[in-house]
Symmetry: C2
Subunit: 219 residues, 2 copies
């Protein structure tokens, strides 16, 4: 019945599952998340679900909605600017650090992610776009080999995910300028500063898109 290659404990499986759902926009901002609901959907006991939810809340991916109810947070403009500030402080640096540890194989893998990302764009596949965009950045940052900074970056992506989804879902993936190509190009020449700048540009673009929507109060 369960031929998963998973040797992972339930609470981690649930955590990842929920995490992906948030990261890739399967849960809308403001949507309530109940323990019992997940117990039935994921077919596990409540203890693992509880722990997964607790972890996600402490990472800011979920919030306590007053009376012990949790939901997906919905950042307002001020909070979005905080996320923006933090991401711009951390992520370009991560990209810069990653350059040290990058060889041809790693670049190859990044190109692969980027190809899939572009395919998703062509297909108008929002969820695919979000997923491969995440994987591209996450893998790049992993290569930096910095546990602390990476975990912060991950936290920030969790907070940004649902909002990105809303905007993309509304305006489509049609006109997304590809900053990844520039980053890849800079990576090939080992130019750390240019890589950092490209990543910064990529982030700024995504941030600006959401910010405009928030300014227009359309969220």
């Amino acid at each position: 019945m369960s031929e998963k290659p998973a040797k992972l404990p339930d609470h981690q499986r649930v955590y990842r599952k929920l995490r992906d759902m948030i990261l890739f926009g399967e849960l809308a901002p403001g949507q309530p998340v109940t323990i019992q609901g997940l117990v039935q959907v994921l077919d596990v006991g409540m203890t693992p679900v509880r722990e997964a939810i607790r972890r996600l809340t402490s990472e800011g991916a979920l919030i306590f909605k007053g009376n012990r109810r949790v939901s997906v947070p919905q950042p307002d403009l001020a909070q979005w600017n905080e996320i923006a500030f933090a991401r711009l402080s951390i992520e370009p640096e991560l990209a810069r650090l990653a350059v040290r540890n990058i060889g041809p194989e790693e670049i190859e893998r990044l190109i692969e992610y980027d190809d899939r990302l572009n395919a998703s764009i062509d297909r108008g596949d929002v969820r695919g776009y979000l997923e491969h965009n995440y994987r591209f950045h996450a893998y790049l940052y992993d290569l930096a080999g910095t546990e602390v900074l990476s975990s912060i970056a991950n936290m920030l992506w969790l907070r940004a995910g649902p909002s990105l989804r809303v905007v993309l879902g509304r305006y489509g993936t049609a006109n997304l300028p590809d900053k990844h190509a520039e980053a890849l190009d800079a990576l090939k020449s080992g130019d750390a500063d240019r890589v950092a700048a490209a990543v910064r540009g990529d982030i700024e673009q995504g941030i600006a898109q959401v910010r405009e929507t928030l300014l227009a109060e359309k969220i």
Copy 2:
């Protein structure tokens, strides 16, 4: 038997308790943390303990030690530099933002924390120093009213706490230059840049102390 004024759920009480223990150096770096141990010490069931541990691990205050055992992390030099970079990126900005929302009462309270901190230094009370130093910064950052940045700062303090404790416990609280006075002075005149600079200086000093110890490989 339990005339605590606490209306808090157990898992939050346990979380705070454990959090404080880490933050104020009651747990040494590398020290293992067991669920059952905490169950007996804190006299609660294992579910709340489990959740508290899970939260702390996701905040980097505890780490999975290979085979589903957790312990207090012991940052090496590289990780400490990461923490330093992140703190210097985030905390001065938080201080700057806090200036907007600060009035005489808030300054009064900060002065109070600082007084207690100085009393702890005079007394050679390491734990008291750590606690009031934390409260000073935490309150200042809270005043910024920025949920995202504050939570990142808190995460970083959790990672820094045990190491600070080790260094202070070894060299004492004797010669700690007081950068808080400068921050308070700048706060009174509402000079955001100077406040940010003072906080930056305060952080740099603490970081340098640990870094030297790590360089000498005395940890």
